[in-house]
Symmetry: C2
Subunit: 230 residues, 2 copies
């Protein structure tokens, strides 16, 4: 290690974790001691260890020090692109079809997801996203017009609610649930696949502060895979 940088400190820490030199369940040297050993500032060690802690590889506690967890809960980062970008990143041509748009009171399970007690009129949107003219995913979305009033006046026949919301309603928090669904007939029809086919689903609710913006269920055509990396 010629020049000490936070990256090199981090790499050395990783090496020691991996080699069990810092065994799972055990304490690692204090930041000040590590700084002395490696010949750098304590702030540099602090900076290096932060990412490892965020990734679940270390647990840091004031005064108690830092330890390698016995059972690490690793953290992976998931990219959430807008659907058009997901399709185009696969080298496929994006297409979009608004299937329906209504104002209606949201059903109870959507209210629950939005943490709303009482239903007022919401915007209900059903849309199909296409990749090279093949169905890619079906978007079933409820939007709270209180959070995004402009949507009531927006023409969603040419831009998807998914994309429009990203550009017009920056959310501060989001909940996701990923799962699998055996395609019921109406969804199979929209996605042009067999009834009962296994579909990857994403359910997402987003908020601006405590104000719910939207709740959406995306059903992807059979074969879709969502990638992530650590």
């Amino acid at each position: 290690m010629s020049t000490i940088t936070w990256q090199s400190v981090q790499a050395e820490a990783l090496r020691r974790i991996r080699s069990r030199e810092w065994p799972p369940g055990g304490q690692i040297p204090h930041e000040a001691d590590l700084a002395e050993e490696l010949g750098c500032a304590r702030a540099t060690v602090n900076r290096a260890l932060r990412d490892l802690a965020e990734a679940g590889l270390l647990e840091r506690r004031r005064k108690a020090g830092t330890r390698v967890p016995l059972n690490p809960v690793r953290k992976a980062t998931l990219d959430i692109p807008i659907i058009r970008q997901d399709i185009e990143a696969r080298g496929l041509a994006y297409g979009y079809k608004l299937l329906s748009r209504n104002e209606a009171p949201a059903p109870p399970e959507i209210l629950s997801q939005l943490s709303l007690k009482k239903s007022s009129q919401m915007i209900h949107i059903l849309a199909l996203h296409l990749a090279d003219n093949h169905p890619f995913c079906l978007e079933n979305r409820w939007v709270n017009p209180v959070a995004v009033p402009e949507i009531t006046k927006t023409d969603l026949s040419t831009i998807s609610a998914n994309e429009w919301l990203v550009q017009n309603a920056a959310f501060s928090a989001g909940d996701f649930a990923f799962g699998a669904l055996a395609a019921p007939a109406h969804i199979a029809k929209a996605l042009d696949c067999a009834t009962g086919a296994a579909l990857f689903t994403v359910e997402r609710t987003t908020w601006a502060g405590s104000l719910p913006i939207t709740s959406v269920r995306l059903c992807y055509a059979p074969g879709y895979r969502m990638l992530a990396a650590i």
Copy 2:
């Protein structure tokens, strides 16, 4: 804003992004200017903006400055607990059953996932994880004994490979793919569900440096949902 901290700077930046004061596609003030405006050190602004950049809300470029992306690719964090912890966190009793364990050459698609050209003997493990004595997920795993020689001598009838590997083979990189599968008969039998039921699947390959450790496919019983948050 009484006392300026990196957290308060971050909150103010988020507010400006959300309110469109810093419009999508546009430049935000330079760190030095923001520091002057908010009455803190430039390093404090830098610290505050880093997380926002990592979350996809800002794009930072040396000299060009920092901009709010027109189409942000938001980043979500996924917790990857060991399976036993996932089950226990749901308040359910964990159970485990080793279904089979062999040494065999890996099939081509596993070799491909492991970026291996040539197959040598690998450890093939089939195991069932139970929640309150109901099948929770089926683990189909290939382990490279070159990366983890001790596994050849490890009794996997009482500890799952999933858990044992987390404790004994710290990985440096992992690839994940999430999808959905219509349960073929042999998997439906193991998971005690209907043939053709929609199963949530996780395929994961991990490496220590460039050395592949393991490739696993987890098929979760119908109804499983994986949660994440932004």
